[in-house]
């Protein structure tokens, strides 16, 4: 298998604090409405009231989501101008801004709504794994920002060896075919037991 860099997300202890989202926004100078990393919230359950007392089966969890640099990225296949490509040396899925025509097909096909449309220049932008920071040997902005230390990164196969190969939890679209490059340690409520 060729090289594939990937995110590690210990989703079970994400506290939804948005430090990663803001660190990313600040790093990439993103205007309002654009976020390369987003915190998706899920909640459910109900209450039963019996006399004075309350019973609950509430559940809730967050999933911090960015582009997962899919192994079989559908955004590449749909891009009519071949602006999106997968970099061989590390498996990053990147957008060549010069060729992007802003048709937003990548956005439509991405299960995570990762590509963001920049109205200022009519192009798509997305998480590039902070490749400039990687080059300097430091972690992506979101990873070093997480106060709970639930974000990490590394070679996909190594992360899988260490943490298992879960890349889907309840609430996310089915992504079995596209093989997103992340490893999740799921929240107790985000899996069926």
């Amino acid at each position: 298998m060729s090289k594939q860099i990937a995110f590690y997300v210990e989703q079970k202890h994400c506290m939804g604090c948005s430090a990663c989202q803001i660190a990313c926004k600040d790093k990439h100078n993103l205007p309002l409405g654009q976020n390369f990393r987003q915190i998706h919230a899920y909640e459910g359950g109900d209450f039963t009231i019996s006399g004075n007392v309350v019973y609950q089966n509430t559940y809730a969890y967050w999933i911090p989501v960015s582009c997962n640099h899919c192994v079989d990225a559908p955004c590449i296949a749909v891009c009519p101008s071949k602006a999106i490509f997968k970099r061989q040396e590390d498996g990053l899925v990147l957008i060549n801004e010069k060729s992007c025509i802003g048709c937003r097909r990548c956005f439509a096909v991405c299960p995570y709504q990762a590509p963001q449309f920049d109205a200022a220049n009519g192009k798509m932008k997305k998480c590039d794994f902070c490749q400039d920071l990687l080059q300097q040997g430091t972690a992506p902005a979101c990873v070093s920002a997480c106060p709970m230390r639930v974000l990490g990164y590394g070679e996909l196969s190594e992360l899988q060896k260490k943490y298992g190969d879960t890349s889907w939890v309840k609430g996310l679209p089915n992504t079995a075919k596209i093989k997103p490059a992340w490893v999740l340690v799921p929240h107790r409520d985000a899996v069926d037991v």
């Binding site: 202890h13 109900d46 019996s50 609950q56 400039d132 709970m148």
Partner: protein
């Protein structure tokens, strides 16, 4: 200077040589944390903000990683609405109409009023209101205190809007508020009960949620007791027990009942270290039936056993869950019952901290590894850091919450109203300095009532405000001054709560427009009061920072030089072991009595007994049903309890006007799916929340994450009344009542009954 130069940091392939300077600083607002913040500066502008990402992230010294708020500081610093010039009021007070003036004129006016009011009414008429927007060692507050102290004095305050009740009550049990062990010790707990404690949002010491995660990884079970399924509960809890606000002591009483009746208490511990648990261990001269145990079992004065069935009525917690919780806490030693500040910000907020401490004592969880003494929980390990000398000759002080009464009828207030230092106040408040704070209206109770009070210029004759934005409080200024912010000044800051470190804030960029540092303008004010030499002692601000470091070094032999501290930006005290609160008292009680009058852990406090207010300030901790609590008949009209939780997106009211934060978390109030359904309210719908004190229009978040019967308006929204006085932003204090608590004279912010209605229904009723 602490400069790191990163070459080509933005883009390695860029041919133009770029240079970024990295400045080490820290937030200095009242946020709950104190983190390392690094400003990346280029061409005099901050282009990026990072946090602690270079120092090794070890178990012993985890990195001080910042939260979203300092990380988003560029959108605060460069906000177009920043106050830019000194201004004077031209409209009615509170209306928010101002006109630009010069610093000269502003300071002349302030000096004239200060002289006049000091001469006419004396120092007790001059009040420096509670303000925490700048918590640095050399904040505006500090300098104004120093100057006024030299000028003849000022009316001081005690307590805080955050923690006044627990600060007042915990010492009646332990003799101190420092009942907290180091957070590193939580990995030794088998069970952690978080009671109204949500560090995911309140931070409550940088890394506190992370320490809880480590405890969980080490095997601790975590139970959250909270009206909300909090962010902390989502990330860490094994169990959520929703509880009605103001009833924490009822739950704790019933847990005590289970423990006593099942004989699970640590009797040896109680007999050795405690006073007033049972009738055999009471102070002399107290009539029979007044011990804690008699109260719990109902064999004392009230004849009501505090059974789980009794507690279920007020708390809303099923009795079997109360029994399970009590057994779990009693049998899984060591266990940590950790109380947040939310449960003590209510009508009888003095009780929960003492009730919690009683449970910790009954289970013998005090002074041991993995235990927790409950109560206030301020760290028991503290380090000395020097301060700017302030010697206030005026000895009078009021509770920080009592100033509206001191404006209206100060001269009628005395010891019974919590006045300290003097028997009675000699003047009403006439001059208010509100420097970097929003408690003048927004964060105080009853905005409508307070606005009316402040609007009367015969009462408070002159109000000076300094801030970054035109906040709700700033609108009440007569003179409004533009302050600098933490990226624009140097200072020294301490952890908000726990943490064995101190930080140096380096200045990252120049102050914009005519914003000025507190030392600069207060020195100019000193000149007008002919006190320059006394005030400055010939020192620049840097000299004073050096002075603080020198004072610190005298007490701490390992402390670095000023230059080294400034360069590194942080100094860590290093210890072999986590600190355990009351370890010495437990291991060697003969030589280490508790700092209480009896030397014991006081279930029964003779000092409280002597106050002779048993219904409101009992000598033992008791559940006292709150006015506007779940048992108030007023619930017939206003059926919902309204609280105001802290959110990640604001520091109290700071950052409310910040759109990066609004994007991260919009200002919405929480209502349970149960209550919303009853009223036909949909998620995302704008509705009206009201009671007799005011109306708020706000968007509803309909959620299973809040208990039925309770709603929560995230505290800190800027009060924005429309023409009819209806708040359009969701300032919870539009609905809160101004009624000081009985012992601490503190704010009961989470004690409110309200109703929620759809807007068309409100229209129809008009």
């Amino acid at each position: 200077m602490c400069k790191n130069v990163i070459k080509g940091a933005r883009d390695m392939t860029d041919t133009t040589f770029q240079e970024e300077t990295i400045i080490r600083t820290s937030g200095s607002h009242n946020c709950g944390g104190r983190c390392i913040v690094k400003a990346h500066v280029k061409d005099g502008r901050i282009v990026r903000i990072t946090s602690d990402d270079e120092r090794p992230d070890t178990d012993k010294r985890p990195q001080l990683r910042g939260c979203l708020r300092c990380r988003a500081y560029r959108s605060y610093l460069y906000h177009e609405d920043r106050l830019k010039y000194p201004m004077k009021r031209i409209g009615k007070r509170g209306e928010g109409l101002f006109e630009r003036i010069s610093w000269e004129e502003a300071l002349d006016t302030i000096a004239d009023h200060t002289k006049r009011i000091m001469a006419e009414y004396g120092p007790e008429a001059i009040y420096l209101s509670y303000a925490t927007g700048n918590a640095g060692k050399t904040s505006e507050q500090v300098w104004m205190r120093r100057l006024l102290a030299l000028y003849g004095g000022y009316l001081d305050y005690y307590g805080t809007y955050s923690s006044a009740c627990t600060n007042a009550a915990t010492p009646y049990t332990y003799g101190t508020v420092n009942s907290g062990s180091s957070r590193e010790d939580w990995v030794n707990s088998k069970l952690i009960i978080l009671m109204g404690f949500n560090p995911a949002a309140t931070i409550h010491g940088t890394n506190t949620a992370y320490y809880l995660k480590k405890a969980k990884e080490a095997g601790a079970k975590i139970i959250c007791i909270d009206p909300l399924y909090s962010d902390t509960a989502v990330a860490l809890a094994d169990q959520w027990i929703p509880i009605r606000p103001t009833t924490d002591s009822a739950l704790l009483d019933a847990m005590a009942y289970v423990i006593i009746t099942e004989n699970l208490q640590d009797q040896v511990f109680l007999d050795t270290y405690c006073l007033g648990f049972d009738e055999d261990h009471m102070p002399e001269g107290i009539p029979a039936g007044n011990s804690y145990k008699s109260y719990i079992l109902g064999t004392g004065t009230d004849q009501v056993p505090k059974t789980p069935a009794w507690a279920e009525r007020s708390t809303g917690i099923p009795r079997e869950i109360i029994i399970q919780l009590a057994r779990e806490y009693a049998l899984n030693k060591p266990g940590a019952l950790i109380q947040g500040f939310g449960p003590q910000r209510h009508a009888y907020g003095e009780q929960p901290p003492r009730s919690g401490a009683a449970l910790a004592a009954m289970t013998g969880n005090i002074g041991i590894k993995g235990g927790w003494a409950s109560g206030c929980g301020s760290p028991c390990r503290k380090q000395y850091v020097g301060s700017i000398p302030i010697n206030n000759p005026c000895k009078a002080a009021i509770s920080m919450y009592m100033w509206p009464l001191a404006i209206q009828k100060g001269t009628e207030l005395g010891k019974r109203e919590g006045v300290r230092g003097v028997d009675k106040l000699s003047a009403n408040i006439k001059l208010i300095f509100n420097l970097a704070g929003n408690c003048l209206i927004n964060q105080h109770s009853d905005t409508n009532g307070t606005a009316e009070l402040l609007g009367d210029e015969n009462l408070a004759q002159f109000i000076v405000v300094s801030d970054h934005f035109l906040t709700s409080s700033a609108k009440f200024a007569d003179i409004l001054l533009p302050g600098d912010n933490f990226m624009e000044r140097e200072d020294i800051v301490l952890p908000w709560s726990a943490g064995d470190y101190v930080l140096f804030m380096n200045k990252a960029v120049d102050t914009v427009y005519e914003c000025r540092n507190g030392y600069d303008w207060i020195r100019d004010l000193a000149e007008r009061l002919e006190l320059t030499a006394e005030f400055t002692q010939g020192k620049t601000l840097e000299d004073w920072l050096r002075f603080i470091v020198d004072e610190t070094r005298k007490e701490n032999p390992g402390f670095p030089s000023y230059e080294e501290f400034k360069e590194k930006g942080v100094y860590d005290w290093e210890y072999e072991e986590p600190a355990i609160a009351f370890k010495e008292q437990i291991e060697d009680p003969r030589h280490h009595p508790f700092p209480t009058p009896s030397g014991k852990i006081e279930f029964f406090s003779s000092r409280l007994w002597e106050l002779d207010k048993p219904a409101e300030v009992p000598a033992i901790p008791k559940y006292i049903p709150a006015w506007e609590g779940p048992e108030d008949p007023l619930r017939g009209t206003y059926p919902l309890q309204c609280i105001g939780h802290h959110t990640k997106r604001r520091v109290h009211s700071m950052f409310d006007n910040n759109d990066w934060m609004e994007e991260a978390e919009a200002q919405v109030f929480w209502i349970s799916i149960y209550d919303a359904k009853k009223r036909g309210i949909k998620n995302g719908e704008r509705v009206c929340i009201y009671n007799t004190r005011g109306k708020v229009i706000l968007t509803a978040k309909v959620t299973p994450r809040i208990m039925p019967g309770v709603i929560s308006i995230p505290q800190g929204g800027w009060w924005s009344p429309d023409k009819e006085g209806t708040d359009q932003r969701g300032c919870i204090n539009t609905l809160t009542k101004y009624q000081p608590t009985p012992l601490a004279f503190a704010n009961p912010q989470h004690t409110n009954l309200v109703e929620v209605a759809k807007l068309d229904q409100m229209e129809a009723e008009k």
